[in-house]
C-alpha cells in the first residue's frame, strides 16, 4: 500500500505516493527524478548518496522518505543558484577534484554541510569530515585541496 507524503526538496514541495519502506535516495532518484544523488552501496558505507537535511549531512540510503516530511532537503541539484555554481562546486571543478564523478555529489554535499558548521577548518578536520565518503579515483588529495580552497574563498566573501 502506498501512502501520501509531502517532501520539501531544493525549495520545492512534492506530493508523492510512496511505499513506507522506500528510502529517501530511491524516492529522490526514482519518484522526483533527481538522479544527481548517487546510490553506491545502499548501506551507508560509501557516502555517495549524501544530501543535506536541515543543514546536516545525511545518508539518503539510510533514511526512510516518510520520516523526512517537514524537513528541508537539499540535493546536489539545488546547490547552484541562478546558474552560478556553489563555491564548492567551483573549487571541485577548478582544482581537479573530479574524475569519474560518481562520488562527487556526495563529496560536495558532505563538504557543504561541513563548511556550514565549520567555516575555517584545518586539513585534519576536512579529512575527518570526508572520511565516510569513498573515492577510488582521486586518492582524495585534490578533493581535500578543493574543500580547503572553497573554505578560503568563502571566508574572503
Amino acid at each position: 500500500m502506498k501512502t501520501q507524503i509531502r517532501l520539501q526538496v531544493n525549495g520545492f514541495e512534492y506530493d508523492l505516493l510512496i511505499k513506507p519502506h522506500w528510502t529517501l535516495v530511491d524516492v529522490l532518484r526514482d519518484e522526483i527524478g533527481l538522479t544527481g544523488t548517487k546510490k553506491g552501496c545502499g548501506k551507508g558505507e560509501c557516502g555517495a548518496c549524501t544530501v543535506i537535511m536541515n543543514g546536516e549531512a545525511i545518508l539518503a540510503c539510510l533514511v526512510l522518505a516518510v520520516r523526512v516530511q517537514g524537513k528541508r532537503i537539499l540535493t546536489i541539484e539545488g546547490l547552484a543558484r541562478e546558474g552560478r555554481l556553489d563555491s564548492l562546486q567551483d573549487a571541485f571543478v577548478k582544482y581537479g577534484a573530479i574524475q569519474c564523478g560518481f562520488c562527487t555529489p556526495g563529496m560536495i554535499m558532505t563538504s557543504r554541510a561541513f563548511l556550514i558548521n565549520n567555516p575555517h577548518p584545518t586539513e585534519e578536520e576536512i579529512k575527518k569530515a570526508l572520511s565516510g565518503n569513498l573515492c577510488r579515483c582521486t586518492g582524495y588529495v585534490k578533493i581535500i585541496e578543493a574543500v580547503r580552497k572553497a573554505s578560503m574563498a568563502e571566508v574572503r566573501k
Binding site: G40, K43, V93, S131, R136, I143
Partner: protein
Amino acid sequence: MKRDYVNIGKRLPRVDAVVKATGEAKYAGDLSLPGMLHGKMLRSPYPHARIRHIDTSQAKRLSGVRAVVTGKDTIGFKAGGISAQGDEPYLALDKVRFIGDAVAAVAALDEQSAEEALDLIRVEYEELPAVVDPLSAMNEDAPLIHDHAPKNISFKTDLSYGDVDQALRGCDYAREDRFETTPIRHGFLEPHAALAVWDHSGRVSFWGSKQSPYFTYRNLAKALNIPLSRVRVIQPYIGGGFGGKNEMFNVDFCAALLARKTGKPVRIVVSQEEVLFAYRQRHPTVIDLKTGFKKDGTILALEAHIIADGGAYLSIGALSLYLMCAFFCMPYRLPNMRAKGYRVYTNTQPSCAMRGHGVPQSRFAAEVQLDLAAKEMGLDPVDLRLKNALKPGEETPNGFKITSCGLQESIVAAKSIIAGWRKQQPKDDGRKKRGIGIGCYGYVSGPRMAGHNTAGAVIKVHEDGGISLTTGSTDVGQGSDTVLSQIAAEVLGVRLEDIRYGMVDSDITPLDPGTFGSRVTFVTGNAVRIAAEDARGQLAEVAANALEANPGDIMFKDRKVYVVGSPDRSMPFSKLVKIAQYSGTGKTILGRGYWAPEGLEVPNFETGRGNMSAAYSFGTQVAEVEVDSETGFTKVTRMAMVHDCGQPLNEMLMEGQLEGSAIGGVGHTLMEEIVRKEGQTMNPSFLDYRMPSTLDACPLEILHTDTYDEMGPFGAKETGEGIQVAVVPAIVNGIHDAMGVAFKRIPITPVMVLDALKKKS
C-alpha cells in the same frame, strides 16, 4: 625536451567537470525509459554444482513479473576475454562454478516484485566438490571445473630467454623467495548497470556502465545471435572501471535478453554487494622468484614460477598471465630470464585486469627481492636499481624496444629525495619505527592485441567556430575526453571550451578497442591529432583562397587564421568555417583520423616474444612509512614519484591520475583483501572490505623526468596506471627499512606486523 604549447600541458579543468559537479551527468543507472521494467539476477549459492532443473513457473505467476529467463533461453554463447576458447555463459547452462554465478534473471514492473520473484525460482542443484585454492586445484585428483581444462589450468605460459641455469651458476649471489598476493577489488563506486530496449526492426539499443563499449557491442550480437548492425551501444558517463568494467557481463546480456522477451525497456542495476561477490577481482598469486647477481649488483638471471588464481572463468586471464611474466623484463636489464606461469581455475570469483594489469603482482615480488638482495650484498638499493636500469635504445630479451626512457633520471632524482627525507626524518622513538622504501616500474602505452587495434576520430566544425569531436574511446574518469579535446584544440588553434566531446555511440562513433592498457591518450590521441590536421588542411585551402596565400602558409591560432609572416591578413576561425560552408556549392568540413602504432607485434602469450607497445613509461616511487610497533599499524606518511610520462598533456589531470593510483596502491599494500571461506566472500561490503579513505591519504610529491616521446601525441605516454606497480613495493620496502622485516605477502596487516616483531624479539 618538453615543448611549449597553447592548450597542451596546461592545468585545465576537465571538459565534464561541471556536469559532474552539478549532478547533471547521467550514469547508466540514472537512465530510464517510458514503460521500463526492472531486472534482477538470481545467483548461485554454491561454489560448484550441477543444475538439475530450474522451475520458474511460480515466479512467472507473481503479479508484476513480466519475464523470467534462464540459460535455456539463450543460445549458449560463452564469453572468454581475448581467447577463442569461451568458457563463461552469461546464464549458467549446466553448472554453476562460483558463489554468485548467474543462474536466472527476472524482469518486473518494479524492483521489489523482481526481487520477490527471485525467491520463487526453484533451482534443483546437485552439489559438486569444490576447489577454492589454486595449488590444490592443480592436483591430479582435484575436481574438474571445466571439462576442457585438465588440472584446472586455464592458461599457461613459459617465457625463456638466454640460459638461466648457466647464468645462475655463474652468479656471485642469488636468492630465492616465495611471494604471495591476495585478491582485491577494483573498487569503483558505481555498480554495474545496464539498460536495453528493442524496436520492431529487431534492433537493440543498449546503455551500460562499460569502459570498453565495443566489447559489449560485439558480444551482444554474438550472444543474442543477431547481426552486428542490429546492435547499438551508447555510452553514458562511467563511474570508474580500473579494468573491472571491460568485459560484457551477465547484467548487460540479461537486460538485453529480458527486453527482447518483454518488448519493453529493461534496466538492471546490481547492488554493490553483488559487485563485491559476483563480479571481478585482481588475480591473487603465488610467485616463486629467484634472482642472481654479480657482486657489483649487476642482475644476471631471473627465474620465476607463478601460480595465478583465475577463479571460475578465463576472462582476460591469458593476457594477465603473460603480463605478469613479461614484465619481469622491465624496467631492468635482464640477460637471462625464465618465467613459467599457470593460471588456474578455482570455484571463486573470476579474476581479470586491474590497474597495472598483472604487473603489480610480479613487480612487488621482484622489487622486494631486490631490496633483500641489496641488503645481503651490502649494496645500496637505489644504486642497485640505477646500475641495472634500462636506457633509451635498449631492447629487453622478450623484444620490448625501449624508445624514450627517463628511468635513470628518475632513480637519480629519487635518490636525492630520499637523502632529503632522511635528514628530516624524526628518529625512531621506540614505539614508532620509520623507514623509506623505493620501487621502480615500466609500463605500456597501449598494448598491441590480436584483433582490432586502431583508434579513430572525427572532427566536425560549426559555423560559430565550435568543434565537435568524436572518437570511439571511453573516459571512465581518467580524463581522456579532456586531453583528447586539448589535442584537437591545439591543432585547430582554438580553445578547450570550443570543443564539444561526443561519447561513444556505436552507430556514429568510430570503432575502438576500448579503455585498457593505458592506450587511449596515446593511440586515440594520435587519431585525434590526425583528424584535426585533416580538418585544418581542408580549412587551410579555403583560407588560402580567401586570403590569397598558399594553404601551407595558413596558421591557426587564438581562434583566428592568418598568413604566416603577415598577421594582418587574417580572419576569425568562425568566419572561415562560414565561408567554407556557404561559398559556392559549399563544403562540409569533416576531419578524419585513424591511427595505430606501426610495426608492433602481437605478443605470443605462451612464449612472450614481441614488442607490444610503441612506447613505455617509467618511474620511481618513494614511500615513507611509520610502523607503530605497539599496534602493528603502518601509516604511509608521504610519497614521492618521479615519473616519465613523456610530455604531460594536462598537469592537473595527470597529478590526479598519479594520486589516485598511489593511494590505491596503499590500499593494495596495507588494507585490502577479499576474505573467503570455502568460496564464500566474507566481506562483500565497503565496511568490511576496507579501501583507503581520506584518513589514509598522504602528501604526494610529483616530479617529471625531462622526456618527450616522438611517437606519442604531443610527446605524451602512459600516466597513472603504471605507478601503482611501483607503489606497492616502495611501501613494503619502506617497512623493511623501518623494522628490518621484509614482508612477502600483501596486504601487510597489523597482525602480520605484530607477529613479525614477536618473532624478531
